[in-house]
Every structure is written in C-alpha cells, then in structure tokens.
Symmetry: C2
Subunit: 177 residues, 2 copies
C-alpha cells in the first residue's frame, strides 16, 4: 500500500506476496481491507518513528540532526528506485471520505512524529511555543520534500529541505533564547 495506495493494492496480491492464503488474511483481519490498511499505517508509523528517533539522537544540535535526516531520506528513496515514499501518505490519501479510521491513523502518525521533533527541540533549549510550531513545519517540509523527490526522481528537494530547515531552526534559536 505504501507503493500502490489503498485502492491500487488488492488483498489477493497481499496474500500472495505474503505467502498466506486469502482465508488466513480474513481470519487475522476480520475487518477486511480497512483493518489491514489501518494496521499498515500503524506499522509505517512505528517504522518512521524509530528512524526519526535514531536520526535525532545522532547529533546534539537539532538543526544538524534534521538536516542529516533529510539527506538520509533522499538516499533511501533513491535506493528504492523512487518507489518507497512515506509509508502513510499513499495509503491514507484518497480514503478520507470513505474510511475515517484510516485517516485517523494517519493523523496519529503525523502527530507522533511531530512530538518527537518537538521533544528534541525542547531538550535543546528552545522555547516551548517555538518548538511546537517548528515541529509542525519540520514534518510538513520533510513530507512535501519526500513527495517532490519521488515525483521528480531527484534527491534535490530533500537535500534543500534539510539545508533550509537547519537554517530556520538556527534562526529561531537565536531569535528567542
């Protein structure tokens, strides 16, 4: 679903690639495709949260850590031949009206990631309001740059997003000490 989206991915395809039978899938996911999608998003949520935690722990300076994060995302995306984008976006996009539970799971993922950045910024001494606001834009920008990188098959959007986010963060550190 990360690659093909909710509607583009069939349960039969999933069961085949997983080496399970169709009956097994419906045994463990009685809620059908919707439940499967929610679990897929939660899985992607945890996955990216772990990645983000690792990257944020990689440098004391939050600006430096975020910039490294963006670069790594670009490298990983290229390695996947521009196919493995955000594990939440593709699944959630387009299902908003039909399946609120899916959208809710996606919102939770975004909120968790934001929380991780927020905590890092506060730990580095940023004002709470600044940290909260900056965390929003850091996630938004990473998300958008990942999208742009995927569409244009280039690491450039993510590289520049890293550079600019770092400058923005440093600007706020100086602005409200």
């Amino acid at each position: 679903m990360q690659r093909q989206g909710y509607d583009g991915t069939g349960i039969k395809q999933i069961s085949k690639e997983a080496g399970a039978t169709l009956g097994s899938v419906y045994h463990f996911f009685p809620g059908g495709k919707q439940e499967l999608a929610v679990e897929a998003i939660r899985h992607g949520d945890r996955e990216f949260a772990e990645f983000l935690t690792r990257m944020l722990a990689g440098a004391d300076d939050p600006a430096e850590a975020i910039e490294a994060c963006a670069r790594t995302l670009g490298q990983d995306l290229r390695r996947s031949d521009w196919v493995d984008g955000c594990p939440v976006t593709a699944t959630a996009l387009g299902t908003a009206t039909r399946a609120p539970e899916i959208q809710h799971a996606a919102a939770e993922a975004f909120a968790r990631w934001r929380g991780l950045v927020d905590a890092k910024l506060r730990a580095a001494g940023f004002a709470h309001a600044d940290a909260r606001d900056l965390a929003h834009t850091v996630i938004s920008t990473l998300e958008g740059a990942e999208l742009a990188a995927q569409v244009s098959q280039s690491e450039t959007p993510l590289r520049l997003a890293g550079t600019h986010l770092a400058r923005l963060i440093r600007l706020y550190r100086k602005a409200t000490p």
Copy 2:
C-alpha cells in the same frame, strides 16, 4: 481523481458525473484512463499555476505573498471539508511504476510552480542560486503542509508553513544581498 486518487476513481463514475456516456469518454480520450489522468493533472497544473500567479502578484514582498498563499490554501481546504487537496498529488501517487506518463506530468507541474516562485524571488532581487533553492523548498513545504492539513483536518500546518517560509525567505534576503 483529486479526491479519490487514480485507482479509486472509475471511468464510469467520471462519465456519469460529467453527464456524458461511456462511449463519448472513450471517443475523446482514446488512450483510456491513463490519458484521462494525464489531462486531469495538466488541468490541475494550470489551475494551481494561475492561483499561484495571482497570489504572488498580490504583494511586492515575496515573503508576504507566500505567507498569504499558505493561509488562503488553508481556508480553501477547510471550505472543501478537507477534501480538495493538491490536484496533482492524489492522482500521481501510487502510479509511479505502472504509468510513467502520469508521473512525468506531475513532475512538470511541480517544476512549473517552482519556476513561478523562482521568478518572483529573482524579480525581488534575490541571488539566482538562492531563488532557485528557495523555490524548491517553498513548493515542497506548501505541498507537505497541505497534506498535513488535510490529514489532521486543521489549518495549522499551512498557517505555520506560511509563517516559517516567510521568515526563511527574509533570512536569505538579508544573508546574500
């Protein structure tokens, strides 16, 4: 397709809502669903390009114009009940592997929008390299914030994106005069 994505939107649904018969659709779009999707993306491309042109012309200061742009995007998104997001993203996402032409049209749209921001920044006296790089991040951030706003059903990501992009742009104006 803007709302439901490529796979979530049926040609029968399109023909019904358009008041046309299925035969007519295939008469004017012999390339079938793929051709329809490419034209839909080109349409969204022009639509947003006109919106962006209008917003950029609304203020001499690029930072101010971009901030107003983000706010307006948020208001429009709320007015649509968080349904009408970027007219390109939903259609293009998930079709990368199967339909390169769709992805190519999406890449062209992003490039055109970037070009508009780039031109505005250069016209305001920014160094060419700075303008080019900033245009990348402006589009990425607006795109990601629109996504985040849609998922969380809140204007906050777009409002903050506007604020932060404005500060970033002003920083560069001062940095390299």
